[in-house]
Point group: C2
Chain length 289, copies 2
Protein backbone atom coordinates (compact mmCIF):
# COMPACT_ATOMS: atom_id res chain seq x y z
CA UNK A 1 0.00 0.00 0.00
CA UNK A 2 1.11 3.62 -0.53
CA UNK A 3 1.25 5.16 2.92
CA UNK A 4 1.98 8.79 3.76
CA UNK A 5 3.40 9.15 7.29
CA UNK A 6 3.46 12.63 8.82
CA UNK A 7 5.31 13.04 12.12
CA UNK A 8 8.39 10.85 12.52
CA UNK A 9 9.25 11.45 16.19
CA UNK A 10 9.87 9.05 19.06
CA UNK A 11 6.63 7.23 18.26
CA UNK A 12 6.11 7.93 14.55
CA UNK A 13 9.69 7.09 13.51
CA UNK A 14 9.69 3.44 14.58
CA UNK A 15 6.03 3.03 13.50
CA UNK A 16 6.88 4.19 9.95
CA UNK A 17 9.91 1.89 9.90
CA UNK A 18 7.71 -1.06 10.88
CA UNK A 19 5.38 -0.28 7.96
CA UNK A 20 8.35 -0.25 5.55
CA UNK A 21 9.49 -3.59 6.99
CA UNK A 22 5.99 -5.02 6.40
CA UNK A 23 6.33 -4.25 2.68
CA UNK A 24 4.47 -0.96 2.38
CA UNK A 25 5.67 2.02 0.37
CA UNK A 26 6.06 4.75 2.99
CA UNK A 27 6.50 8.40 2.06
CA UNK A 28 7.29 10.39 5.19
CA UNK A 29 7.23 14.02 6.18
CA UNK A 30 8.58 15.73 9.28
CA UNK A 31 9.87 19.23 10.08
CA UNK A 32 13.18 17.59 11.08
CA UNK A 33 15.57 16.58 8.24
CA UNK A 34 17.32 14.24 10.64
CA UNK A 35 14.13 12.25 11.19
CA UNK A 36 13.47 12.17 7.44
CA UNK A 37 17.00 10.80 6.89
CA UNK A 38 16.29 8.09 9.46
CA UNK A 39 13.18 7.03 7.52
CA UNK A 40 15.14 6.93 4.26
CA UNK A 41 17.81 4.86 6.05
CA UNK A 42 15.06 2.41 7.04
CA UNK A 43 13.91 2.09 3.42
CA UNK A 44 11.23 4.78 3.22
CA UNK A 45 10.99 7.87 1.05
CA UNK A 46 11.24 11.52 2.15
CA UNK A 47 8.76 14.18 1.03
CA UNK A 48 9.43 17.90 1.23
CA UNK A 49 5.90 18.77 2.33
CA UNK A 50 2.68 17.24 3.60
CA UNK A 51 1.23 17.91 0.14
CA UNK A 52 3.95 15.85 -1.54
CA UNK A 53 3.69 13.05 1.04
CA UNK A 54 -0.07 12.57 0.62
CA UNK A 55 -0.32 13.21 -3.15
CA UNK A 56 -0.10 9.53 -4.20
CA UNK A 57 -1.19 7.93 -0.91
CA UNK A 58 -4.04 5.44 -0.30
CA UNK A 59 -3.56 5.86 3.43
CA UNK A 60 -2.19 8.81 5.40
CA UNK A 61 -1.09 8.38 9.02
CA UNK A 62 -0.47 11.37 11.28
CA UNK A 63 1.44 11.02 14.57
CA UNK A 64 1.83 14.52 15.95
CA UNK A 65 2.42 16.12 19.37
CA UNK A 66 -0.91 17.90 19.89
CA UNK A 67 -4.12 19.32 18.40
CA UNK A 68 -2.58 22.46 16.79
CA UNK A 69 -0.12 20.37 14.74
CA UNK A 70 -2.90 18.01 13.65
CA UNK A 71 -5.06 20.95 12.63
CA UNK A 72 -2.24 22.50 10.60
CA UNK A 73 -1.42 19.23 8.83
CA UNK A 74 -5.09 18.51 8.11
CA UNK A 75 -6.60 21.95 7.46
CA UNK A 76 -3.52 23.96 6.35
CA UNK A 77 -2.98 25.17 2.76
CA UNK A 78 -0.20 22.57 2.39
CA UNK A 79 -2.43 20.05 4.12
CA UNK A 80 -4.08 16.73 3.76
CA UNK A 81 -7.61 17.90 2.92
CA UNK A 82 -6.28 20.15 0.17
CA UNK A 83 -3.93 17.62 -1.40
CA UNK A 84 -5.23 14.17 -0.51
CA UNK A 85 -7.06 12.12 -3.14
CA UNK A 86 -10.77 11.32 -2.89
CA UNK A 87 -11.13 8.06 -0.96
CA UNK A 88 -7.89 8.62 0.96
CA UNK A 89 -8.01 6.94 4.38
CA UNK A 90 -6.62 9.29 7.03
CA UNK A 91 -5.66 7.65 10.34
CA UNK A 92 -4.76 10.18 13.04
CA UNK A 93 -2.81 8.30 15.70
CA UNK A 94 -1.93 11.43 17.69
CA UNK A 95 -3.55 11.99 21.07
CA UNK A 96 -5.83 15.03 20.71
CA UNK A 97 -9.19 16.24 21.96
CA UNK A 98 -12.20 14.14 20.90
CA UNK A 99 -13.74 17.34 19.56
CA UNK A 100 -10.71 17.89 17.28
CA UNK A 101 -11.14 14.34 15.97
CA UNK A 102 -14.81 14.98 15.21
CA UNK A 103 -14.03 18.24 13.38
CA UNK A 104 -11.34 16.52 11.32
CA UNK A 105 -13.75 13.71 10.40
CA UNK A 106 -16.53 16.12 9.39
CA UNK A 107 -14.25 18.28 7.24
CA UNK A 108 -12.67 15.21 5.66
CA UNK A 109 -16.07 13.78 4.72
CA UNK A 110 -16.83 16.96 2.73
CA UNK A 111 -13.71 16.27 0.65
CA UNK A 112 -14.46 12.56 0.18
CA UNK A 113 -11.63 11.67 2.56
CA UNK A 114 -12.27 8.99 5.20
CA UNK A 115 -10.95 9.80 8.67
CA UNK A 116 -10.31 7.63 11.72
CA UNK A 117 -9.02 8.72 15.13
CA UNK A 118 -6.71 6.00 16.37
CA UNK A 119 -4.63 7.05 19.39
CA UNK A 120 -2.33 4.49 20.93
CA UNK A 121 -0.99 3.37 24.25
CA UNK A 122 2.14 1.35 24.89
CA UNK A 123 4.77 4.06 24.54
CA UNK A 124 8.09 4.05 22.67
CA UNK A 125 8.65 0.36 23.48
CA UNK A 126 5.28 -0.52 21.92
CA UNK A 127 6.02 1.63 18.86
CA UNK A 128 9.40 -0.07 18.28
CA UNK A 129 8.12 -3.60 18.90
CA UNK A 130 4.82 -3.12 17.02
CA UNK A 131 2.86 -4.01 20.17
CA UNK A 132 0.79 -0.84 20.64
CA UNK A 133 -2.83 -0.81 21.75
CA UNK A 134 -4.89 1.16 19.23
CA UNK A 135 -8.34 2.60 20.08
CA UNK A 136 -10.17 3.52 16.92
CA UNK A 137 -13.11 5.85 16.36
CA UNK A 138 -14.90 6.26 13.03
CA UNK A 139 -16.90 4.37 10.42
CA UNK A 140 -16.81 0.56 10.91
CA UNK A 141 -16.10 -0.01 7.20
CA UNK A 142 -13.18 2.41 7.26
CA UNK A 143 -11.92 0.63 10.37
CA UNK A 144 -11.91 -2.68 8.49
CA UNK A 145 -9.96 -1.04 5.65
CA UNK A 146 -7.42 0.31 8.15
CA UNK A 147 -6.93 -2.96 9.95
CA UNK A 148 -4.19 -4.41 7.65
CA UNK A 149 -2.10 -1.31 8.36
CA UNK A 150 -2.88 -1.15 12.08
CA UNK A 151 -1.98 -4.78 12.77
CA UNK A 152 1.58 -3.94 11.71
CA UNK A 153 1.74 -1.32 14.47
CA UNK A 154 -0.09 -2.92 17.35
CA UNK A 155 -1.37 -6.13 18.90
CA UNK A 156 -4.64 -4.82 20.37
CA UNK A 157 -6.72 -3.06 17.72
CA UNK A 158 -10.24 -2.17 18.87
CA UNK A 159 -13.03 -0.20 17.20
CA UNK A 160 -14.69 1.66 20.09
CA UNK A 161 -17.28 3.87 18.38
CA UNK A 162 -17.87 6.77 15.98
CA UNK A 163 -15.48 9.66 15.21
CA UNK A 164 -13.85 10.91 18.40
CA UNK A 165 -14.51 7.70 20.36
CA UNK A 166 -10.89 6.58 20.06
CA UNK A 167 -9.74 9.84 21.64
CA UNK A 168 -12.36 9.55 24.40
CA UNK A 169 -11.13 6.07 25.31
CA UNK A 170 -7.53 7.34 25.28
CA UNK A 171 -8.62 10.15 27.62
CA UNK A 172 -10.27 7.61 29.95
CA UNK A 173 -7.07 5.56 29.85
CA UNK A 174 -4.91 8.51 30.81
CA UNK A 175 -7.13 9.57 33.68
CA UNK A 176 -7.06 6.06 35.13
CA UNK A 177 -3.28 5.66 34.66
CA UNK A 178 -2.51 9.07 36.18
CA UNK A 179 -4.89 8.37 39.05
CA UNK A 180 -3.36 5.00 39.87
CA UNK A 181 0.12 6.59 39.95
CA UNK A 182 -1.24 9.14 42.41
CA UNK A 183 -2.85 6.46 44.61
CA UNK A 184 0.31 4.33 44.65
CA UNK A 185 2.34 7.45 45.49
CA UNK A 186 0.04 8.20 48.44
CA UNK A 187 0.26 4.57 49.60
CA UNK A 188 4.09 4.74 49.53
CA UNK A 189 4.13 8.02 51.47
CA UNK A 190 1.72 6.60 54.09
CA UNK A 191 3.72 3.38 54.50
CA UNK A 192 7.09 5.10 54.78
CA UNK A 193 5.84 7.81 57.15
CA UNK A 194 4.44 5.01 59.34
CA UNK A 195 7.76 3.17 59.44
CA UNK A 196 6.57 0.27 57.27
CA UNK A 197 8.81 -1.28 54.60
CA UNK A 198 7.12 -0.18 51.35
CA UNK A 199 8.48 -3.17 49.38
CA UNK A 200 6.77 -5.67 51.69
CA UNK A 201 3.63 -3.55 51.85
CA UNK A 202 3.24 -3.04 48.11
CA UNK A 203 3.98 -6.72 47.46
CA UNK A 204 0.83 -7.53 49.44
CA UNK A 205 -1.19 -4.85 47.60
CA UNK A 206 0.01 -6.12 44.21
CA UNK A 207 -1.32 -9.59 45.01
CA UNK A 208 -4.85 -8.51 45.93
CA UNK A 209 -7.76 -6.32 44.87
CA UNK A 210 -5.43 -3.28 44.92
CA UNK A 211 -3.32 -4.91 42.19
CA UNK A 212 -2.67 -3.06 38.92
CA UNK A 213 -0.34 -3.00 35.95
CA UNK A 214 1.22 0.15 37.45
CA UNK A 215 2.04 -1.69 40.70
CA UNK A 216 3.38 -4.67 38.75
CA UNK A 217 5.67 -2.62 36.52
CA UNK A 218 6.62 0.41 38.59
CA UNK A 219 6.48 -0.20 42.33
CA UNK A 220 10.14 -1.17 42.63
CA UNK A 221 11.42 1.79 40.61
CA UNK A 222 9.08 4.18 42.48
CA UNK A 223 10.30 2.97 45.88
CA UNK A 224 13.91 3.43 44.66
CA UNK A 225 13.01 6.88 43.28
CA UNK A 226 14.10 5.97 39.77
CA UNK A 227 12.12 8.19 37.42
CA UNK A 228 13.85 7.87 34.04
CA UNK A 229 11.12 8.00 31.35
CA UNK A 230 9.14 6.05 30.23
CA UNK A 231 6.30 8.41 29.59
CA UNK A 232 7.12 11.97 30.58
CA UNK A 233 5.14 14.12 33.02
CA UNK A 234 5.04 16.83 30.28
CA UNK A 235 3.14 14.46 28.00
CA UNK A 236 0.81 13.25 30.71
CA UNK A 237 0.13 16.89 31.60
CA UNK A 238 -0.80 17.56 27.98
CA UNK A 239 -3.03 14.48 28.02
CA UNK A 240 -4.77 15.59 31.23
CA UNK A 241 -5.62 18.82 29.42
CA UNK A 242 -7.35 16.65 26.83
CA UNK A 243 -9.13 14.65 29.56
CA UNK A 244 -10.44 17.80 31.22
CA UNK A 245 -11.51 19.20 27.82
CA UNK A 246 -13.22 15.91 26.96
CA UNK A 247 -15.13 15.99 30.27
CA UNK A 248 -16.21 19.59 29.61
CA UNK A 249 -17.35 18.69 26.09
CA UNK A 250 -19.31 15.73 27.49
CA UNK A 251 -20.70 17.97 30.23
CA UNK A 252 -19.58 15.87 33.18
CA UNK A 253 -17.82 16.64 36.48
CA UNK A 254 -15.11 14.15 37.49
CA UNK A 255 -13.81 14.99 40.98
CA UNK A 256 -10.88 12.57 41.24
CA UNK A 257 -9.80 13.40 37.70
CA UNK A 258 -9.68 17.07 38.65
CA UNK A 259 -7.30 16.39 41.54
CA UNK A 260 -5.14 14.06 39.42
CA UNK A 261 -4.81 16.77 36.77
CA UNK A 262 -3.73 19.29 39.41
CA UNK A 263 -1.15 16.94 40.91
CA UNK A 264 0.35 16.31 37.46
CA UNK A 265 0.33 20.07 36.81
CA UNK A 266 2.16 20.48 40.13
CA UNK A 267 4.77 17.92 39.05
CA UNK A 268 5.43 20.01 35.97
CA UNK A 269 5.45 23.28 37.88
CA UNK A 270 7.98 21.78 40.29
CA UNK A 271 10.33 21.03 37.41
CA UNK A 272 9.71 17.30 36.98
CA UNK A 273 8.30 17.57 33.43
CA UNK A 274 11.01 15.44 31.84
CA UNK A 275 10.75 12.65 34.42
CA UNK A 276 8.56 9.58 34.11
CA UNK A 277 4.92 10.04 35.17
CA UNK A 278 5.59 7.80 38.18
CA UNK A 279 7.42 10.91 39.53
CA UNK A 280 3.99 11.97 40.78
CA UNK A 281 5.45 10.44 43.95
CA UNK A 282 7.76 13.47 44.23
CA UNK A 283 4.74 15.79 44.36
CA UNK A 284 3.07 13.83 47.14
CA UNK A 285 6.37 13.84 49.04
CA UNK A 286 6.85 17.56 48.52
CA UNK A 287 3.38 18.26 49.96
CA UNK A 288 4.66 16.57 53.09
CA UNK A 289 7.99 18.26 53.76
CA UNK B 1 -3.38 -26.25 69.11
CA UNK B 2 -5.91 -24.70 71.51
CA UNK B 3 -7.31 -21.68 69.75
CA UNK B 4 -9.74 -19.12 71.15
CA UNK B 5 -11.72 -17.40 68.40
CA UNK B 6 -13.63 -14.23 69.30
CA UNK B 7 -15.96 -12.79 66.67
CA UNK B 8 -17.74 -15.39 64.53
CA UNK B 9 -19.39 -13.17 61.91
CA UNK B 10 -19.32 -13.29 58.12
CA UNK B 11 -15.50 -13.46 58.17
CA UNK B 12 -14.76 -15.03 61.58
CA UNK B 13 -17.33 -17.82 61.28
CA UNK B 14 -15.83 -19.55 58.24
CA UNK B 15 -12.28 -18.82 59.44
CA UNK B 16 -12.95 -20.59 62.75
CA UNK B 17 -14.55 -23.51 60.89
CA UNK B 18 -11.44 -23.83 58.70
CA UNK B 19 -9.28 -24.04 61.84
CA UNK B 20 -11.49 -26.83 63.23
CA UNK B 21 -11.20 -28.65 59.90
CA UNK B 22 -7.40 -28.35 60.07
CA UNK B 23 -7.42 -30.29 63.37
CA UNK B 24 -7.24 -27.47 65.91
CA UNK B 25 -9.32 -27.26 69.08
CA UNK B 26 -11.33 -24.07 68.63
CA UNK B 27 -13.23 -22.45 71.49
CA UNK B 28 -15.33 -19.62 70.13
CA UNK B 29 -17.11 -16.61 71.58
CA UNK B 30 -19.58 -14.25 69.99
CA UNK B 31 -22.43 -12.08 71.27
CA UNK B 32 -24.77 -14.05 68.96
CA UNK B 33 -25.90 -17.50 70.15
CA UNK B 34 -26.77 -18.36 66.56
CA UNK B 35 -23.18 -17.88 65.46
CA UNK B 36 -21.92 -19.92 68.43
CA UNK B 37 -24.29 -22.74 67.44
CA UNK B 38 -22.86 -22.63 63.91
CA UNK B 39 -19.34 -23.09 65.29
CA UNK B 40 -20.47 -26.02 67.44
CA UNK B 41 -22.15 -27.51 64.35
CA UNK B 42 -18.79 -27.23 62.56
CA UNK B 43 -17.04 -29.14 65.37
CA UNK B 44 -15.89 -26.28 67.60
CA UNK B 45 -16.76 -25.46 71.20
CA UNK B 46 -18.79 -22.52 72.52
CA UNK B 47 -17.65 -20.38 75.44
CA UNK B 48 -19.96 -18.12 77.44
CA UNK B 49 -17.47 -15.29 77.71
CA UNK B 50 -14.17 -14.05 76.32
CA UNK B 51 -12.63 -15.03 79.64
CA UNK B 52 -13.77 -18.65 79.26
CA UNK B 53 -12.70 -18.78 75.59
CA UNK B 54 -9.13 -17.65 76.25
CA UNK B 55 -8.57 -19.39 79.60
CA UNK B 56 -6.93 -22.52 78.16
CA UNK B 57 -5.80 -21.08 74.83
CA UNK B 58 -2.27 -21.05 73.32
CA UNK B 59 -3.51 -18.71 70.58
CA UNK B 60 -6.38 -16.21 70.61
CA UNK B 61 -7.74 -14.79 67.35
CA UNK B 62 -10.04 -11.78 67.31
CA UNK B 63 -12.09 -10.88 64.23
CA UNK B 64 -14.26 -7.93 65.20
CA UNK B 65 -16.07 -5.09 63.41
CA UNK B 66 -14.05 -2.09 64.65
CA UNK B 67 -11.65 -0.61 67.21
CA UNK B 68 -14.15 -0.25 70.12
CA UNK B 69 -15.02 -3.96 70.00
CA UNK B 70 -11.32 -4.90 69.90
CA UNK B 71 -10.60 -2.62 72.84
CA UNK B 72 -13.44 -4.13 74.87
CA UNK B 73 -12.36 -7.71 74.13
CA UNK B 74 -8.71 -6.94 74.89
CA UNK B 75 -8.86 -4.40 77.72
CA UNK B 76 -12.26 -5.16 79.31
CA UNK B 77 -12.69 -6.81 82.73
CA UNK B 78 -13.89 -9.99 80.97
CA UNK B 79 -11.07 -9.56 78.46
CA UNK B 80 -8.05 -11.19 77.01
CA UNK B 81 -5.37 -9.34 78.97
CA UNK B 82 -7.10 -10.14 82.26
CA UNK B 83 -7.75 -13.81 81.53
CA UNK B 84 -5.16 -14.94 78.96
CA UNK B 85 -2.21 -17.05 80.08
CA UNK B 86 1.37 -15.71 80.01
CA UNK B 87 2.86 -16.52 76.62
CA UNK B 88 -0.57 -16.45 74.91
CA UNK B 89 -0.27 -15.42 71.24
CA UNK B 90 -3.00 -12.90 70.37
CA UNK B 91 -3.63 -12.40 66.64
CA UNK B 92 -6.03 -9.53 65.93
CA UNK B 93 -7.32 -10.02 62.39
CA UNK B 94 -9.85 -7.18 62.59
CA UNK B 95 -9.24 -4.01 60.57
CA UNK B 96 -8.58 -1.24 63.08
CA UNK B 97 -6.39 1.85 63.41
CA UNK B 98 -2.62 1.21 63.47
CA UNK B 99 -2.52 3.19 66.70
CA UNK B 100 -5.03 0.78 68.31
CA UNK B 101 -2.81 -2.13 67.25
CA UNK B 102 0.22 -0.50 68.85
CA UNK B 103 -1.64 0.15 72.12
CA UNK B 104 -2.87 -3.45 72.23
CA UNK B 105 0.68 -4.73 71.65
CA UNK B 106 2.17 -2.52 74.38
CA UNK B 107 -0.45 -3.44 76.97
CA UNK B 108 -0.17 -7.13 76.06
CA UNK B 109 3.62 -7.08 76.50
CA UNK B 110 3.16 -5.88 80.09
CA UNK B 111 1.09 -9.01 80.79
CA UNK B 112 3.52 -11.37 79.02
CA UNK B 113 1.04 -11.79 76.14
CA UNK B 114 2.39 -11.64 72.58
CA UNK B 115 0.29 -9.60 70.15
CA UNK B 116 0.21 -9.47 66.34
CA UNK B 117 -1.97 -7.27 64.14
CA UNK B 118 -2.96 -9.35 61.13
CA UNK B 119 -5.76 -7.78 59.07
CA UNK B 120 -6.86 -9.55 55.93
CA UNK B 121 -8.07 -8.87 52.45
CA UNK B 122 -10.01 -11.23 50.20
CA UNK B 123 -13.48 -10.88 51.70
CA UNK B 124 -16.07 -13.52 52.58
CA UNK B 125 -15.00 -15.69 49.63
CA UNK B 126 -11.40 -15.68 50.86
CA UNK B 127 -12.53 -16.47 54.41
CA UNK B 128 -14.61 -19.45 53.27
CA UNK B 129 -11.97 -20.79 50.87
CA UNK B 130 -8.99 -20.13 53.16
CA UNK B 131 -7.41 -17.89 50.51
CA UNK B 132 -7.13 -14.62 52.42
CA UNK B 133 -4.15 -12.28 52.17
CA UNK B 134 -2.84 -11.58 55.67
CA UNK B 135 -0.61 -8.57 56.48
CA UNK B 136 1.10 -9.04 59.79
CA UNK B 137 2.70 -6.52 62.14
CA UNK B 138 4.64 -7.46 65.26
CA UNK B 139 7.67 -9.38 66.48
CA UNK B 140 9.24 -11.62 63.79
CA UNK B 141 9.52 -14.58 66.20
CA UNK B 142 5.85 -14.27 67.13
CA UNK B 143 5.02 -14.12 63.42
CA UNK B 144 6.83 -17.44 62.87
CA UNK B 145 4.87 -18.96 65.75
CA UNK B 146 1.61 -17.72 64.21
CA UNK B 147 2.37 -18.98 60.73
CA UNK B 148 1.01 -22.56 61.18
CA UNK B 149 -2.35 -21.08 62.16
CA UNK B 150 -2.36 -18.34 59.49
CA UNK B 151 -1.59 -20.71 56.60
CA UNK B 152 -4.92 -22.42 57.32
CA UNK B 153 -6.71 -19.11 56.76
CA UNK B 154 -4.85 -17.57 53.84
CA UNK B 155 -2.55 -18.15 50.93
CA UNK B 156 -0.51 -14.91 51.12
CA UNK B 157 0.93 -14.44 54.62
CA UNK B 158 3.41 -11.55 54.86
CA UNK B 159 5.23 -10.01 57.81
CA UNK B 160 5.38 -6.30 56.96
CA UNK B 161 6.94 -4.72 60.07
CA UNK B 162 6.51 -4.00 63.78
CA UNK B 163 3.24 -3.67 65.72
CA UNK B 164 0.70 -1.64 63.71
CA UNK B 165 2.41 -2.27 60.36
CA UNK B 166 -0.17 -4.85 59.30
CA UNK B 167 -2.93 -2.27 59.87
CA UNK B 168 -0.98 0.39 57.98
CA UNK B 169 -0.63 -1.89 54.96
CA UNK B 170 -4.35 -2.70 55.14
CA UNK B 171 -5.07 1.04 55.21
CA UNK B 172 -2.85 1.55 52.14
CA UNK B 173 -4.70 -1.32 50.44
CA UNK B 174 -8.11 0.20 51.12
CA UNK B 175 -7.12 3.66 49.88
CA UNK B 176 -5.82 2.19 46.61
CA UNK B 177 -8.86 -0.06 46.11
CA UNK B 178 -11.33 2.75 46.86
CA UNK B 179 -9.40 5.10 44.59
CA UNK B 180 -9.36 2.69 41.66
CA UNK B 181 -13.13 2.19 41.99
CA UNK B 182 -13.50 5.96 41.85
CA UNK B 183 -11.27 6.27 38.77
CA UNK B 184 -13.07 3.46 36.94
CA UNK B 185 -16.40 5.08 37.83
CA UNK B 186 -15.23 8.40 36.36
CA UNK B 187 -13.95 6.64 33.23
CA UNK B 188 -17.36 4.95 32.75
CA UNK B 189 -19.22 8.25 33.21
CA UNK B 190 -16.90 10.01 30.72
CA UNK B 191 -17.25 7.23 28.13
CA UNK B 192 -21.04 7.00 28.38
CA UNK B 193 -21.57 10.78 28.39
CA UNK B 194 -19.43 10.90 25.22
CA UNK B 195 -21.51 8.24 23.48
CA UNK B 196 -18.80 5.59 23.60
CA UNK B 197 -19.59 1.95 24.37
CA UNK B 198 -18.09 1.47 27.85
CA UNK B 199 -17.59 -2.29 27.34
CA UNK B 200 -15.32 -1.75 24.34
CA UNK B 201 -13.56 1.16 26.01
CA UNK B 202 -12.84 -0.59 29.29
CA UNK B 203 -11.70 -3.72 27.46
CA UNK B 204 -8.90 -1.62 25.95
CA UNK B 205 -8.05 -0.08 29.32
CA UNK B 206 -7.95 -3.49 31.01
CA UNK B 207 -5.33 -4.68 28.51
CA UNK B 208 -2.89 -1.79 29.01
CA UNK B 209 -1.18 0.32 31.67
CA UNK B 210 -4.61 1.28 33.06
CA UNK B 211 -5.25 -2.39 33.85
CA UNK B 212 -6.13 -3.47 37.40
CA UNK B 213 -7.71 -6.28 39.37
CA UNK B 214 -10.75 -4.03 39.84
CA UNK B 215 -11.16 -3.64 36.06
CA UNK B 216 -10.65 -7.39 35.56
CA UNK B 217 -13.22 -8.43 38.16
CA UNK B 218 -15.77 -5.62 38.23
CA UNK B 219 -16.00 -3.71 34.97
CA UNK B 220 -18.80 -5.83 33.52
CA UNK B 221 -20.92 -5.70 36.69
CA UNK B 222 -20.30 -1.94 37.07
CA UNK B 223 -21.38 -1.23 33.48
CA UNK B 224 -24.52 -3.32 34.11
CA UNK B 225 -25.08 -1.48 37.43
CA UNK B 226 -25.02 -4.69 39.42
CA UNK B 227 -23.93 -3.76 42.91
CA UNK B 228 -24.72 -6.80 45.07
CA UNK B 229 -21.97 -7.09 47.70
CA UNK B 230 -19.15 -8.14 47.74
CA UNK B 231 -17.65 -5.69 50.13
CA UNK B 232 -20.14 -3.15 51.38
CA UNK B 233 -19.81 0.63 51.11
CA UNK B 234 -20.50 0.79 54.90
CA UNK B 235 -17.38 -1.27 55.56
CA UNK B 236 -15.24 0.64 53.10
CA UNK B 237 -16.46 3.86 54.73
CA UNK B 238 -15.36 2.53 58.11
CA UNK B 239 -11.99 1.57 56.58
CA UNK B 240 -11.51 5.04 55.04
CA UNK B 241 -11.94 6.43 58.55
CA UNK B 242 -9.00 4.22 59.54
CA UNK B 243 -7.00 5.38 56.50
CA UNK B 244 -7.57 9.04 57.35
CA UNK B 245 -6.71 8.40 61.01
CA UNK B 246 -3.54 6.51 59.99
CA UNK B 247 -2.48 9.43 57.77
CA UNK B 248 -3.07 11.87 60.63
CA UNK B 249 -1.06 9.68 63.02
CA UNK B 250 1.76 9.47 60.48
CA UNK B 251 1.49 13.24 59.94
CA UNK B 252 0.98 13.13 56.16
CA UNK B 253 -1.44 14.83 53.76
CA UNK B 254 -2.85 12.59 51.01
CA UNK B 255 -4.97 14.66 48.59
CA UNK B 256 -6.46 11.89 46.43
CA UNK B 257 -7.20 9.80 49.51
CA UNK B 258 -9.13 12.72 50.96
CA UNK B 259 -11.39 12.93 47.91
CA UNK B 260 -11.85 9.15 47.80
CA UNK B 261 -12.94 9.17 51.45
CA UNK B 262 -15.47 11.93 50.74
CA UNK B 263 -16.90 10.10 47.71
CA UNK B 264 -17.35 6.94 49.76
CA UNK B 265 -18.93 9.01 52.54
CA UNK B 266 -21.29 10.45 49.91
CA UNK B 267 -22.22 6.94 48.78
CA UNK B 268 -23.23 6.13 52.33
CA UNK B 269 -25.07 9.43 52.80
CA UNK B 270 -27.01 8.74 49.59
CA UNK B 271 -28.21 5.42 50.99
CA UNK B 272 -25.90 3.03 49.17
CA UNK B 273 -24.20 1.70 52.34
CA UNK B 274 -25.34 -1.88 51.83
CA UNK B 275 -24.27 -2.03 48.18
CA UNK B 276 -20.89 -3.23 46.93
CA UNK B 277 -18.10 -0.62 46.99
CA UNK B 278 -18.18 -0.57 43.18
CA UNK B 279 -21.41 1.44 43.71
CA UNK B 280 -19.11 4.46 43.93
CA UNK B 281 -20.22 4.71 40.30
CA UNK B 282 -23.67 5.79 41.54
CA UNK B 283 -22.11 8.76 43.35
CA UNK B 284 -20.21 9.93 40.26
CA UNK B 285 -23.44 9.57 38.25
CA UNK B 286 -25.47 11.47 40.82
CA UNK B 287 -22.99 14.36 40.71
CA UNK B 288 -23.85 14.57 37.03
CA UNK B 289 -27.62 14.58 37.00
Amino acid sequence: MNIAFVGLGIMGGPMAANLVRAGHTVVGYDVSDERLDALVGAGGKAAESVAEAVAQADTAITMLPDSPQVEEVVFGPDGLLEHGRRGLLHIDMSTVRPETARRVAQAAAVKGIRALDAPVSGGERGAVDGTLSVMVGGDPGDFEDARPVLVVLGTTIVHVGPAGAGQTVKAANQLVVGGIYGLVAEAIVLLEASGVDPEAGLDVLAGGLAGSRVLDLKRHSMIRRRFAPGFRIDLHHKDMGIVIAAAREAGVALPLTGVVAQLIAAARAQGYGSLDHSALLKVVERINR
